[in-house]
Amino acid sequence: MAMVPHERSLVKKMEGKPFVLLGVDLDNQKSDELAAEKDKKITWRSWFDGKEGPIAKEWQVHGIPALYLLDSQGVIRYKWLGNPGGEVIDKAVEKLVKEAAANK
């Protein structure tokens, strides 16, 4: 949750660019997710996976935050277990968005 403010500004900065932030929510209940989204002004979509849900199981996620950055071809390019810091994320996102534009 500590990452939310930065993520919000990243989403804003990337408006109109080929970028999207998607969440997988591991909360126990849907109402927890909805409350958090309202509280923290989370504007992006999340799959609700629940406690020990199928998505986290398949992706072998044992702790949060866990982040994957995929390029426009759907290839995993970065993987962070634990928050790497906003700067690291931004730099990687910008690089891949630039690549995506060049590939068009």
Binding site: M1, L21, L22, G23, W47, Q60, G74, V93
Partner: protein, 334 residues
């Protein structure tokens, strides 16, 4: 420049200490002398960080730091005197680790290490402290580890200290010139060899492999070379695959090298995953999981599609966003 940084870190470290209070010690019989000193340090720290914030300009800030540094030196001397005078006091060990936190290097830190070695070598917390210092890249780590090694004869402590020392020397070797590096690597190999002969070797290797690193790989290989029992061998091969996979994922590894490491790991895992021996069922299951991660969850692999619903029950899938860069965030409100 670097020097100033370090003092600033000490200021910040103190804030953490102040928040945590002396850990693990009930106020049952607090030694007034020591607790008084801790309080004074905390006050000095609070004042210094306030003054630092307020100080205008580089010169004024430097002055605050110099002043704080002088105060800290005085306090650490008194804390050291306390620990030296009362080595059996319940706060003595804590006092010395506190000094190392306040002044990571220099004569006070040297003295703290000397006292730790003299009076606290058999304290299990000292082994842990040495490991923490090593992880934090403290300049005192090697001295403390070596001192404890020569004085703490407990088998487990010896194993852990040897591995910590091996890690320290390995990273030193990676920065050293060729001749020096060779010498250091030789010592690393000797240490690893000694641990490989210990009775807890397999367990130690498993733990080390999870963290990854060159020493872990050496250890796993050394134990593997001397084990004959099929179950230990399978467990060790699983650890080896883990180490190789971790190496492939490290930043700075070339694509070709990463590919080679991944293939070596996949090769080992493939054999383990296919095992039909009942005794190796757990190893086979773990190997399958790692193999899946290698094929679908590693950098360079096409991401698995995700299908599901949002909290409002609306269906959507990852493939809907094809053509876009996707930041996938596993999160929860807890």
């Amino acid at each position: 420049m670097r020097h100033r940084w370090r003092w600033l870190i000490a200021v910040l470290a103190l804030a953490a200490v102040a928040a945590a209070e002396p850990p693990g010690n009930k106020p049952a019989k607090p030694d007034a002398e020591y607790t008084g000193l801790v309080k004074q340090v905390q006050q000095a720290q609070a004042k210094a960080s306030q003054a630092y914030e307020k100080a205008q300009g580089e010169q004024a800030k430097q002055k605050v730091l110099a002043n704080y540094r002088a105060q800290l030196q005085e306090y650490t001397r008194r804390i050291l005197a306390f620990a030296e005078k009362h080595p059996k006091n319940e706060h003595a060990f804590e006092a010395l680790s506190f000094v190392l936190q306040l002044v990571p290097q220099g004569p006070e830190a040297d003295k703290a290490v000397a006292l730790l070695a003299k009076d606290h070598a058999t304290n299990p917390d000292a082994v842990e402290l040495a490991e923490e210092l090593a992880q934090a890249d403290s300049p005192e780590a090697e001295t403390l580890v070596r001192a404890l090694l020569s004085r703490n004869r407990d088998a487990k402590a010896q194993d852990n200290l040897k591995l910590t020392l091996a890690d320290l020397l390995q990273s030193k070797a990676e920065k050293a010139g060729a001749t020096q590096a060779q010498k250091l690597e030789k010592e690393v190999d000797d240490l690893v060899d000694q641990v490989a002969g210990s009775k807890d070797a397999v367990e130690l290797a498993q733990t080390a492999a999870q963290a990854g690193g060159a020493v872990a790989e050496k250890l796993v290989r050394a134990i593997l070379a001397r084990s004959t029992d099929p179950k230990s061998k399978a467990t060790l091969n699983l650890s080896l695959a883990q180490v190789l996979k971790a190496r492939a994922e490290k930043s700075g590894v070339s694509a070709a090298e990463a590919k080679r490491l991944e293939e070596a790991a996949a090769d080992l895992l493939g054999k383990l995953a296919g095992s039909k021996v009942a005794d190796l069922k757990d190893v086979a299951a773990q190997a399958k999981e790692l193999l899946f991660a290698l094929h679908h969850l590693s950098v360079g692999k096409v991401a698995l599609n995700i299908q599901g619903e949002d909290a409002d029950g609306k269906k959507f899938k990852l493939k809907d966003y094809q053509g876009k860069v996707v930041l996938l965030d596993f999160w929860a409100s807890w």
